[in-house]
C-alpha cells in the first residue's frame, strides 16, 4: 500500500511540474500557427511562389 501511495504521489508531482510547461508549449504553438496563417494571408503570392520554388528544389534533389 505504501509503495502505491508513493507512486501516486510521485506521478502527481510530475504531472503538476509538467502541466504548466505543456500548457505553455501549446500556447506557443497556437500563437505560431496564427502568425504563420496571418502571414500567408497577407502575402499569398510570395508564399505560393516560395512554396513552388521549395518544391522545385526538393524535386530536383529527389531526382538525383
Amino acid at each position: 500500500m505504501e509503495m502505491t501511495e508513493q507512486f501516486e504521489k510521485t506521478a502527481r508531482d510530475i504531472e503538476e511540474r509538467i502541466r504548466p510547461q505543456i500548457e505553455d508549449a501549446k500556447k506557443k504553438v497556437l500563437d505560431l500557427n496564427s502568425q504563420v496563417v496571418s502571414y500567408i494571408k497577407e502575402n499569398p503570392g510570395k508564399c505560393l511562389l516560395g512554396a513552388l520554388a521549395a518544391g522545385y528544389i526538393i524535386g530536383r534533389i529527389a531526382r538525383r
Binding site: I40, A51, A53, Y56, A62
Partner: protein
C-alpha cells in the same frame, strides 16, 4: 535668274516638304507604336486581372492557407522532376501501407467481434443443447428404471 531664284526655294521647299513628311511618318510611326504598346499592355492587364478573378488565388489562400501551400509545394515538386524518383516511390509505398493498415483495422475489429459473438452464441447453444441432452438421458434413465 527667276528660275534660279524660284528653283532654290522650290528645292528648299521640296527638301523641307520631304523632311516634314519624313518627320511626320516617323512621328506617326512612333505614335502608332506607342498606341499599340499601350493597347497591348492594357489588354494584358485586363487578361491578368480576369485570370486572377477567375482563379481567386487570394480567396483560396485565405480559406485554406496550408492546403494552398501544400499544393504549390506539390506542383513545384512535379515540375522539378521528382515525380518518378525513389523518394516518391518510398513516400507512396509508406502511404499505401498506412492506408491499408488504417482500412484494415476496422475490418479486422468487425471480423473479430463477429467471431467472438458467434463463438459465444455457439457455446451458449451447445451448453443448452448439452443440458437438454442430459435431461433427456435422465428422463430416459428414469423411464428405464420405472420399467
Amino acid at each position: 535668274m527667276a528660275s534660279s531664284e524660284s528653283g532654290a526655294p522650290n528645292g528648299q521647299r521640296a527638301e523641307a516638304a520631304s523632311g516634314a513628311a519624313g518627320a511626320l511618318t516617323v512621328g506617326q510611326r512612333f505614335d502608332r507604336a506607342s498606341d499599340n504598346a499601350q493597347e497591348a499592355w492594357s489588354r494584358t492587364r485586363e487578361t491578368v486581372n480576369d485570370i486572377k478573378d477567375r482563379l481567386d488565388i487570394e480567396g483560396r489562400v485565405a480559406r485554406n492557407p496550408y492546403g494552398m501551400i501544400a499544393a504549390a509545394l506539390g506542383v513545384g515538386y512535379v515540375l522539378g522532376g521528382g515525380l518518378f524518383s525513389p523518394l516518391t516511390a518510398r513516400l507512396v509505398g509508406f502511404g499505401m501501407r498506412m492506408g491499408l493498415k488504417l482500412a484494415a483495422i476496422p475490418f479486422l475489429e468487425n471480423e473479430l467481434r463477429g467471431l467472438t459473438e458467434s463463438v459465444l452464441n455457439g457455446a451458449g447453444e451447445s451448453e443448452e443443447s448439452s443440458e437438454g441432452g442430459e435431461r433427456k438421458s435422465h428422463r430416459a434413465r428414469g423411464t428405464n428404471k420405472g420399467r
